[in-house]
Point group: C2
Chain length 111, copies 2
């Protein structure tokens, strides 16, 4: 998971809540019985869409959720159970290019 030293202007996914996001996703997948059997919450090194981070690459479905916060996790888990996706979080093509992407999430802590 991308982390940078405190105070770096660019921030990082960790500074935008990725650590808590991963923990929440992992816990709620476990609570709903999806963990291991149906879905696994893995961390990854930088996926190179910093401006839209934290992102979740949903595989094998092949889409990215972007600007995800821990508050989105219940909806993500429910959609995994239902076999649907959370359309409002799916990154459109323009968000894979920093020049055309929408605004980044605010940095919520130093790291």
């Amino acid at each position: 998971m991308n982390q940078r030293p405190d105070g770096v202007a660019k921030g990082s996914c960790a500074a935008r809540g990725a650590v808590e996001l991963h923990a929440a996703l992992k816990e709620q997948l476990k609570d709903t019985g999806l963990a291991r059997v149906e879905a696994r919450a893995c961390t990854a090194s930088c996926l190179d869409v910093c401006w839209a981070g934290p992102v979740i690459a949903v595989e094998p479905d092949g889409h990215f959720y972007g600007r995800v916060t821990a508050a989105d996790v219940p909806e993500i888990v429910a959609s995994l159970r239902a076999g649907t996706r959370v359309e409002r979080l799916v990154l459109p093509p323009r968000d894979f290019d920093e020049q055309t992407a929408g605004p980044a999430l605010p940095v919520v802590r130093g790291g």
Copy 2:
């Protein structure tokens, strides 16, 4: 990337060469101009197929390479360029279950 303390009987992907594997893949993707534009070598937390590790989840293609060593990297990079896959490394369904999987790679160092 999965790592365990030195001497743990189960070993780990790191103990089976995953660190060097990732470095070789990243470097050779860069050398061939595939990095950023066509392919990105990301690390991930444990993908839950320990017995077949190190593994590479090839996305969005949707297959796993298993028991991969740094020696396999040139062939992997060449196949990415060619739009093919390295069949001998693709994990068959039986390798996703520890009870039916083939033998693990030997541990090459403690960690």
